[in-house]
Symmetry: D2
Subunit: 370 residues, 4 copies
């Protein structure tokens, strides 16, 4: 499959450059009959959008989705759903001087090595602008999963630079601009980000996604594993450098007696595995997370080369987030939802619909969620 | 694509259960003319095999590869290469009592939920036995990469339980049964593993893979990113719970000024990115790693249920590694090689062969390897 | 892969309904550096367009292509090329009365059975309007094939109803509205079509496509055969009911001594195979053809049912071609070009670029073209 | 997807050369729980096998299937089913002299052009020996389709050289070695074939496949059309030069009023479309056919070249069918069954299982079968 498509049965193909005429996507494989209106995309696009708070980029993107196909009389028809957003706020002047420069930490150099010819405006195809369409596609997946299976997918930020949550309350996440699960730390975060912006530097972030209500049996063995697909989905997001399922790297230092989640009559005793065993969902809460590197677009100068091999100094004057990972929460959420919907469709293709085959066992009253 | 196949242009399809008649794979897409003999698989299969030392499982697998197709007069023909290994050392009695049991931490429960009907002998399809064929396929990829591009892919263990290397010497890796890059710690590791085996418990491990000689330009943007494919490849290995590229999760707490790898006339100043920017190789050393959870097969009893919902106690009496991650080094190596070869083929499909387009820029004398 | 995408390395994904806001496509995998401008699509879209002569539908489609992505400074960048055409001439009233009707010979019934919910306006997704984007994508493929390999792909009509060409002159094809290769028959065709239109009935057509300059070695064995891909590509066009390669069904009654194309020092002695042996190109002229059924949209009443099972009489009052096959010549041409470009990319992925490996043998002075 | 795999959700990957150690296939995606035993393959392999009568090749293939994986306690587990047949009757001496020769009408020349290095023994990978595994995989598909949906797929020969059936009785097909649907012509066929063999020449054949019981709604729009997939499947069989759905090329000369199948309260009035409209099944009998060229392996000498460009004369002394198309009936049947099962799985992935959504309309008492 071509490089700009994602998914096996629910396929999302995105297109568009940061400062080109438009960005868009084609969502192919959505079942017919799902209600869908343009305004349903607004909420998640807002969540992802820059300009949400003073801690994210001050560029204002007016992301108005147009549904070009696949929806008739307000419901999906089963044919491909094309979504389009015109790029309206592209200030090309901000980026004009970098056409022949390799910004350190950006894809300029590797794209140029690969393609020779590239669109440098705003990062072109390698810009995080592309993730807008992932969020849009994710809206469809989240709605379908919720309606059909009661699955709820939620993303939040679990680390910004060196700060980690001192408490955990999912309800707090959507009440603050940091997608942070502990409201008592908001002042601390504000101060941290203010100092960071002042310094001209940036930090990374960790985003976690949990999905509740996933029935047991989703996922495929070997190369189509649910965790393998999640890893590919999350790692494909700009700036992600690591992915974990369940306990992730903490598993390395753990003991087998601690890590294996015992199964009791009222459900699993724990959830170190993150809801996946052998690549297939267990019916527990799904837990995964992604590491975002600090943005490389800084007003602090960095050394680099231009395409002729000359030494240059790069300073980014455009509008950029000091912590790109913060607004990645809805992006990660979307990718997880897209993977889950794809796996749900694959599951019913091979094993029949839920209710026909699964679940087969004792209810999981306690899910051993960590 | 079906769940048991991997890769776009170099496709590996594996089949077989732990205690079925045989395991095998079909490698489709290998260029013609590559010399290939059955004995070339032996070294890597030995490296992966159980029984290599007293610290890995004492089960002896006589993994003799048979080449069923795709090779004529000792060279590949371009048609699919089928590899077969007969299962000869399957002691089914070891596992007979678990047909109706869900071993904690294993895929028994999730497979049963998904398929209803499953092969429980030795874990069936979910057994790490399947990874033998990944290693076999990886031998082909490693050879082609080395001959065609001089790419060298090497895996080593960089954490066992709580122990991390106190030094780093790649040459040491293949001289000890732990794939450990620091010879001075071997006694410590021996003692650690002996104590672990005595306790009946297990620990996890971290495996790192580096690839040298990867030309700039490999990888695809968006969903076919080199790092995305690596994440999927590594996460699809049994027991893996996390994947990192370059600095991985350490990127979260780092600053942008530190993390962005500056480009100097004699090459990159550092390699926090792990040799990938925007999903495409930079020409630097490729660095990635995987977290392996501790094996769940323990002689220490664990609580669980059987398929009827009865409470049971599970004790594993079979032969199992106290640290499965150790012999995963060659598996990770194989998966990275398969991803790289696939991407190399994809690259030359779209952008022409190396030499035609790439590299375009100043040589990278110093690669900024960490 | 999802149903609305086509191709392995050059992937075309189309979207859009006949009377929705727009139709479009995403062409993924095109090599970088190809010059491409919106006006280059005009010629082939005109060739396909209705309204070209009084023998095709009188509906005027103003098909103005907008390039949304993948092109920078007039050249492709290697990233996905999205093409968009707004639907401007949709007279929904023409079709309003058929929302609950199954037009005989149309996809109304089968779509309704499959999806339940469908867009009936102008046939919705099943309208031949979709083929506009195939033609657009084909423009890219034809240009690349011509520039890179000197391959020229040409389609013409070789049967309209019961009339077959009495002579063969490729140069005549583009000089008449029937894509007919024998100018002396134009009067006869005019009279035939006039009588047909008067009668209210329709006829089928046969379209042939030839490709010159295809190097030997394109195509893959077994399921990726060049002829297999051509068959899929042509059969996927609306109204096609048959596909032939080379002599096609005439091969059944032929003798082996006649059919096998002998190879002489100056090339093949004949070309019954149509330039493909074992699924791989021979370097001869590629020959294939498609059978188009007569359009089912007629002003002569047809019996049918509505979705409630009531008997109805269907009369099509909209604007429709009495022979849809005529303007299918550019569509078939486009599909053949897309298949060839995809195979060219696949070939160089596995076997290296042309010049590196092929051709290996005596030049084919005479190609034995039939 | 790689070239030796077929299908989207039910994927068949074949491997093996005519005179290599073995041929085999991996069937991935079969639902769990289907009863399957090695002896179930015997009947169809016999039907396809050479040596069935004196009118097919006298080579005796002992095609004993071994199930290597995917089946436990006699039922499929949902994991990949690997099937293997050892090549036992390979008389390599028969073919030794052709290693450097291009047999006219064979894939020798095109394979050599593509790969440079090829296995010439018995045609290597391009031998029809490969189709054995298609038949084997088809056994699984036919059984699943029959059990799950009551679908019955049957192939027969509808033309041998210039002879066409003078009557049609499906029950006759399996009672004669020609898969001929009219018993009264058997003497004529025997004489025809005897004369043909005496002459040393060969003829082509037409094979038709019908499928009864296919529910409405199978197939996908645009590029995943049921007819498009059938065309690819049939054209991918060795020696096929044409494919028709329903009336096929006869549609060209037909009128729209005749061709469009009217829908009456008791079902369709006719079936010119072959049970497919807009790429999706209508619930009528599915009808398709394939044209097989005459075999090129003849004892009558043919002119050709060797790899050095020398003129040679090729005479085939091996054992070959004078009409390869005859025993292609089970191969075509298998391919149609594989396509249908794949589409059935795709259908239930997107639209839910049969019974949940379809059928929605008046029963089709009369199906208008031609």
């Amino acid at each position: 499959m071509a490089s700009n498509s994602f998914g096996t049965l629910l396929t999302v193909t995105t297109f568009g450059e940061s400062h080109g005429p438009a960005i868009g996507c084609v969502v192919d494989g959505c079942p017919p009959g799902l209600e869908l209106a343009p305004e349903e995309f607004r909420h998640d696009l807002e969540r992802r959008a820059t300009g949400r708070s003073r801690h994210t980029s001050q560029r204002r993107e007016a992301d108005e989705i147009e549904i070009l196909s696949g929806v008739y009389q307000g419901r999906t028809t089963g044919t491909p759903i094309a979504l389009l957003i015109r790029n309206t706020d592209a200030r090309s002047k901000d980026y004009g001087n970098i056409a022949e420069q390799f910004r350190p930490g950006h894809a300029d150099y590797s794209y140029w090595q690969k393609y020779g010819h590239r669109d440098p405006r705003g990062g072109g195809r390698s810009s995080a602008r592309e993730t807008t369409m992932r969020v849009a596609a994710g809206v469809i997946a989240k709605k379908w999963l919720a309606q059909r299976f009661g699955v709820v997918v939620r993303g939040y930020v679990s680390q910004i630079g060196t700060i980690v949550p001192a408490g955990f309350d999912l309800d707090a996440v959507e009440t603050n601009p940091f997608f942070w699960p502990h409201a008592a730390q908001l002042d601390e975060l504000e101060r941290y980000m203010d100092a960071l912006r002042k310094s001209g530097d940036s930090v990374g972030a960790r985003v976690e996604v949990i999905a509740d209500g996933v029935p047991p049996g989703w996922g495929e063995p070997i190369y189509g594993k649910l965790d393998g697909e999640l890893a590919a989905a999350l790692m494909s997001i700009n700036a992600v450098k690591g992915v974990e399922i369940g306990d992730g790297f903490a598993s390395v230092a753990s003991k087998g007696t601690e890590h294996r989640d015992e199964l009791l009559p009222d459900g699993f005793a724990s959830n170190h595995a993150g809801g996946i065993l052998g690549g297939i969902s267990t019916g527990q809460r799904l837990r995964c997370s992604a590491a975002f590197k600090p943005t490389s677009s800084l007003r602090l100068p960095g050394r680099s080369l231009d395409i002729h091999g000359n030494e240059i100094e790069v300073v980014t004057t455009g509008r950029h987030d000091p912590c790109v990972g913060i607004r990645a929460a809805p992006i990660c959420e979307a990718m997880v939802a897209l993977v889950l919907m794809d796996q749900a469709l694959r599951h019913r293709a091979q094993c029949g619909d839920v209710g026909e085959v699964t679940p087969r066992v004792p209810a999981q009253a306690g899910q051993g969620d960590v």
